[in-house]
């Protein structure tokens, strides 16, 4: 099967480092990030899982649950968790699902989360509260992901879900956003009391709505 944006994210029940997990139940009404790594006891993945552990508060702040998955067994994940803590200083603090039979891999087949080692892929699937796929990334084994970019994209997705806005290239929390083209100028004046500036007819910038509630995020998400 080919997984595409807007598709229903396949549900699964599997054992994890935090016990059995029913994926959709686990996400509840919030957002989800399902990400795969090529193998336990491999170096880049160790740095990635430590970093996601370090950022867990940033994901929680965004009402987002993170689930990792690989073809390793749960007992392998648990052994490896000691290495992650020792190597990165951050203890694994989200469930790492064991998928030795590759049930989840085949459910999410199009992203081929962990074929064989030579074709191992670092996938990211962002799932919205409606359980639809919002965003996909496939990076090769050689290249560790940038989880600050995943947070940035989450901020954009969540803002666009709450307000009739979209976010420009390279946008970060606190930057101006773009009024959705379907909103006529008259409506925009009501919906965006801070006003907007028109660059071209369809490109109208406005201060980020609801910024008060989200203030300070940018500094936090950018801190290393």
């Amino acid at each position: 099967m080919t997984l595409r944006l807007g598709d229903y994210a396949p549900d699964f029940t599997a054992n994890s480092t935090e016990g059995w997990i029913a994926f959709h139940d686990y996400l509840g009404d919030g957002w989800g990030v399902l990400f795969s790594h090529p193998g336990d006891f491999t170096p880049v993945s160790t740095t990635e899982l430590g970093e996601v552990s370090r950022l867990i508060g940033e994901f929680e702040r965004r009402d987002t649950k993170v689930v990792g998955v690989s073809a390793g067994s749960v007992s392998s994940h648990l052994d490896w968790a000691d290495d992650i803590k020792e190597a990165t200083g951050h203890s694994l603090n989200f469930p790492l699902v064991g998928d030795p039979d590759r049930v989840i891999a085949s459910l999410y087949g199009a992203i081929r989360p962990f074929a064989d080692d030579s074709a191992a892929v670092r996938s990211v699937v962002v799932v919205g509260p409606d359980k639809r796929v919002e965003l996909l990334m496939s990076y090769p084994g050689s290249t560790g992901r940038d989880f600050t970019e995943v947070l940035r994209a989450l901020d954009s997705l969540q803002l666009a879900a709450r307000h009739p806005v979209v976010t420009p290239v390279n946008w970060e929390v606190g930057d101006e956003v773009i009024v959705a083209p379907v909103i006529p100028d008259e409506d925009a004046q009501v919906r965006f009391p801070l006003g907007f500036r028109t660059v071209t007819g369809y490109l109208r910038y406005t201060p980020q709505p609801g910024r008060e509630a989200g203030s300070g995020r940018r500094e936090e998400s950018r801190s290393r």
Binding site: P43, V44, L136, Y139, S142
Partner: protein, 230 residues
């Protein structure tokens, strides 16, 4: 407009419903099609270098305008990395050409790379850029990085609401190019100039020869070394 699709025998007879799902490591489908810089054959255009094929949903829409202006601003960065960039959407070339005036006016950067016209969705079909449950007719924000061997190295798919981050594209290009030339991989959040990781397949003895700047061992499979080409 010509739209001969060459070198993609696996797709013959496939309709949009059954279009192939590209995977990392697959050959990037070749095509010949019309662009804002005339007819382009993908493989010939890329030559021996790297390529980025990226789609946007529609001309004369705001996020796309900011994205295409930004890519134009970064053209020198892509050139430096021996990487050719091609944009594509289901709009015709005539629309692209008209829109490019807006891109320049709105962002201050004139379009300086080819935008492919794909009104019959040939390229979009080959690369699976239309996701019917997101939008039936328009392409999503796809990015395909293509190596000198014409294989797909990396894929990113963002929805219409969310402009991409082209600094991230440059970052991963740096990683892909470095790891193609040295027995290393790059850790989470890595940026050009930072330490890299020695491939686990390399023994410590070999690593001492291959990485004369030395390395530090955190776990036996996690050994950091200064970036070798720096």
């Amino acid at each position: 407009m010509t739209d001969t699709v060459a070198g993609a025998s696996g797709t013959a007879g496939m309709d949009e419903e059954e279009e192939m799902a590209l995977q990392l490591g697959d050959a990037a489908p070749d095509f010949t099609t019309d662009s804002t810089e005339g007819e382009i054959n993908l493989y010939k255009y890329l030559g021996d270098g790297w390529g980025i094929l990226f789609s946007h949903p529609k001309d004369f829409t705001p996020v796309c305008t900011t994205e295409l202006g930004e890519v134009a601003r970064l053209k020198g960065e892509f050139d430096k990395r021996n990487t050719k960039v091609l944009g594509v959407s289901v709009d015709p070339v005539s629309s692209h050409t008209e829109w490019s005036g807006d891109i320049k006016e709105a962002t201050g950067h004139a379009l300086n790379y080819p935008l492919l016209g794909d009104p019959d969705r040939k390229v979009a079909g080959l690369y699976g850029m239309i996701h019917p449950n997101a939008d039936n007719t328009l392409t999503v924000r796809s990015v395909f990085i293509i190596g000198p061997d014409k294989k797909v190295k990396l894929m990113i798919t963002y929805p219409a609401s969310t402009g991409r981050n082209f600094q991230e594209i440059l970052r991963v290009l740096d990683s892909l190019q470095l790891t193609a030339n040295y027995s290393v991989s790059t850790p989470v959040n890595w940026k050009d100039g930072e330490e890299v990781i020695i491939a686990p397949a390399i023994s410590d003895e070999d690593a001492k020869v291959k990485f004369p700047k030395g390395f530090r061992t955190v776990k036996k499979y996690l050994r950091y070394t200064p970036q070798p080409n720096r």
